[in-house]
């Protein structure tokens, strides 16, 4: 197991990238700690798989270096990298039995027979697949196949990290939970560095110690699930994580006050005046908003109420800007007028989509 550092890494699929837009992966420096469980979260086409393939050596980056425990591995071919990868669709060797599948990476590396035996037995045991060892792999279900792909990575003692590329896509929903649970146990047991690519936020948040959010070829935030929720570093993170996502409203900032249309909102902190022409927005999570029939707060118009069971989501407009508000299950409103209260400490300010810090 190893720590992986990506230094000044960037990649373009074009031979002569001219502008920033030509890069599938914009310049980034990123570290994966030894034994960490990371989720790589982002929408389709944001460069997650490119990043994964660079780490596994299937792609050589246009620039930058990949370090394993400080050793430069950028030009090292996949076979010699000690990386395992589990793909979106189960990759198994159809003609082989489960046992032969698990033995395959070891045999290719000339591991002694006795060691192959003990390793395969151990891994099969922890995958709960000992009973199926002598079955043909092609007849197995999708989730069992995915476990075998993982097993082929685990069976090698020198595996530096295991990369998962949306591995649960083809698994039945009820089995996803089981498999995720097992994966977590395996991670705890073998303590491998794990990078888990997904576009499903629930999967990312429940699974990882740290979540790396990517958007348009860039890493926009690395943080714990809590940080991502409370202090999204980029409007995209706010929008992508949470259901519904963060409300983002265009505003004008003067010191510690934000003006949204004709409404003045207290930000609780003072901000330096943003550069002229910059896009200034405030972001606040629907969970941190309160809605009341009257009293203090900004006047809003209720467009719709959605009941999602445990709570309600109110769709309102503030000065013409649509917002979502989480309201208690008991909330009732006569008519479409209401008052919106905002906790100043929960408002984040974004200049050109990036979070800016204020001072108290």
């Amino acid at each position: 197991m190893a720590r992986i550092d990506l230094v000044d890494l960037a990649h373009s699929y074009m031979s002569n990238p001219a502008s920033r837009a030509d890069y599938a992966l914009k310049e980034m420096t990123l570290s994966w700690e030894d034994g960490g469980a990371y989720a790589l979260l982002g929408p389709s086409g944001c460069g997650k798989t490119t990043l994964l393939n660079i780490m596994s050596g299937l792609l050589v980056p246009s620039q930058g270096r990949v370090l394993f425990d400080g050793r430069d591995m950028t030009q090292i071919i996949t076979e010699d990298r000690n990386i395992a990868q589990v793909f979106q669709f189960p990759v198994i060797y159809d003609t082989m039995t489960v046992r032969q599948n698990l033995e395959f990476p070891l045999r290719n590396r000339g591991v002694p027979e006795a060691e192959i035996k003990t390793r395969v037995a151990e891994i099969a045991e922890s995958l709960h697949m000992t009973a199926e060892l002598d079955h043909k792999a092609r007849g197995l279900t999708a989730d069992a196949k995915q476990k075998i792909s993982l097993g082929r990575g685990l069976v090698r003692q020198d595996t530096a990290a295991i990369l998962f590329d949306e591995p649960l896509t083809v698994i039945d929903p009820h089995l996803k939970w089981v498999l995720r649970r097992q994966l977590k146990d395996l991670h705890r047991r073998y303590d491998f560095t794990m990078v888990y690519v997904t576009h499903d936020q629930t999967e990312a948040l429940t699974f990882a110690d740290k979540v790396v959010v990517m958007y348009d070829g860039e890493v926009v935030q690395v943080g714990t699930p809590e940080e991502l929720f409370e202090r999204p570093a980029h409007t995209f993170v706010g929008y992508f994580i949470g259901s519904p996502g963060m409300n983002v409203l265009p505003c004008r900032v003067e010191g510690s006050t934000a003006h949204v249309g004709g409404q003045a909102l207290d930000l609780g902190r003072g901000y330096a005046p943003p550069a002229a022409g910059a896009k200034v927005e405030l972001g606040v999570r629907p969970e941190f908003l309160g809605l009341a029939a009257d009293g203090q707060g900004c006047p809003v118009t209720i467009q719709a109420m959605e009941d999602v069971g445990r709570y309600k989501i109110a769709r309102v407009t503030l000065e013409g800007h649509p917002m979502a508000v989480v309201a208690p299950e008991s909330a009732r409103f006569d008519g479409d007028r209401a008052r919106l209260s905002i906790d100043p400490g929960r408002i984040n300010l974004y200049v050109n989509d990036h979070l800016v810090e204020g001072s108290l």
């Binding site: 393939n53 596994s56 299937l58 071919i77 996949t78 076979e79 990386i83 395992a84 990868q85 793909f87 979106q88 669709f89 990759v91 060797y93 159809d94 003609t95 082989m96 395959f104 990476p105 290719n108 590396r109 079955h135 043909k136 092609r138 007849g139 197995l140 279900t141 999708a142 069992a144 196949k145 792909s149 082929r152 990575g153 039945d172």
Partner: protein
């Protein structure tokens, strides 16, 4: 899962049954009719029982033609299947050259069979043919009109030239359906080039290979036009395959009874061999099907 039963469907396919009965079944029954009777023309028939069959099966002429035919089909499969796989493996997976390759490969398949025969008949001629004359000039004793070995080589090479593309194109289609992830996983597992072929590419090609083997077997076993145009079954009888022999018997000698009996045996051999190929090559699948417990793909 139970398939829904709908007997109305039978009425809808009835016209096809009738059509097939008239176009295939009735002529076949005529052949069966001839096979068990003797006739001297003028519509007089005499019951012959299984005479024709017994005589045919004991005749050296039929035996030799059958051996030649089996040898020819065996050679064709032994050459075209591995060669087709090799060609498919060498073809580019993506890029500008893919359509170029596909068109070039498809060209021999588009040429009418007798034209293929004519091309090779001229190509191999010692006096004016490019191949024949060059070989002759190099001092190689090649003459397909006089030397049986030369005739065999010409006929086999012609068929390889004509039909390897089909095997290659089928295999190529099979190879193209393999997702990149399989190759990537193999690299991660440290698999050798041979392992990739043996454990990924070959298993993914087995369906198309089954089709390729069946098609090439049936076609080569029934081959008539090309060798007929090139060698006419000669020199001597050395390239007289079953179909050429059959035509000689039926049209040359007008022995309708023996010819009909031979047709039936010929037909049954092809049917039997195809069934054997199919059964052997799909046996694996059935075993998997029986063991399969869950949903899978």
């Amino acid at each position: 899962m139970e398939k829904p039963l709908n007997n109305k469907a039978w009425f809808l396919v009835l016209p096809v049954f009738v059509l097939v009965a008239f176009s295939a079944l009735l002529p076949l029954m005529t052949v069966v009719n001839y096979a068990f009777q003797d006739t001297f023309g003028n519509n007089q028939f005499f019951w012959a029982g299984t005479d024709w069959f017994e005589k045919l099966l004991h005749s050296d002429r039929f035996g030799e033609a059958l051996i030649r035919q089996v040898l020819f089909s065996g050679l064709i499969l032994a050459i075209e299947v591995p060669l087709g796989i090799a060609v498919a493996l060498c073809m580019p997976r993506k890029g500008l050259w893919v359509p170029v390759c596909l068109v070039l490969m498809a060209l021999p398949l588009l040429i009418p069979w007798n034209v293929v025969g004519t091309i090779w008949q001229i190509f191999g001629r010692v006096d004016i043919g490019l191949l024949g004359h060059v070989l002759y000039s190099l001092g190689i004793d090649y003459n397909y009109t006089q030397d049986p070995l030369s005739a065999w080589i010409t006929v086999v090479v012609m068929d390889v030239w004509h039909w390897t593309s089909l095997v290659a194109l089928l295999c190529y289609a099979g190879l193209q359906s393999i997702p990149d992830a399989f190759y990537q996983a193999a690299r991660i597992d440290g698999a050798s080039r041979w392992s990739v072929f043996r454990h990924i590419q070959l298993p993914k090609m087995d369906r198309v290979l089954l089709i390729a083997v069946l098609l090439r077997f049936m076609d080569s076993f029934m081959i008539y036009t090309e060798p007929f145009v090139v060698t006419g079954g000669g020199p001597g009888n050395s390239t007289t395959f079953l179909s050429i022999d059959l035509v000689k018997l039926a049209i040359g000698q007008f022995d309708l009874g023996p010819a009909a009996a031979m047709s039936l045996i010929y037909f049954l051999i092809i049917l039997l061999m195809s069934w054997v190929f199919y059964t052997v090559m799909t046996k694996q699948d059935e075993q998997d099907q029986n063991r399969k417990t869950g949903g899978g793909e």
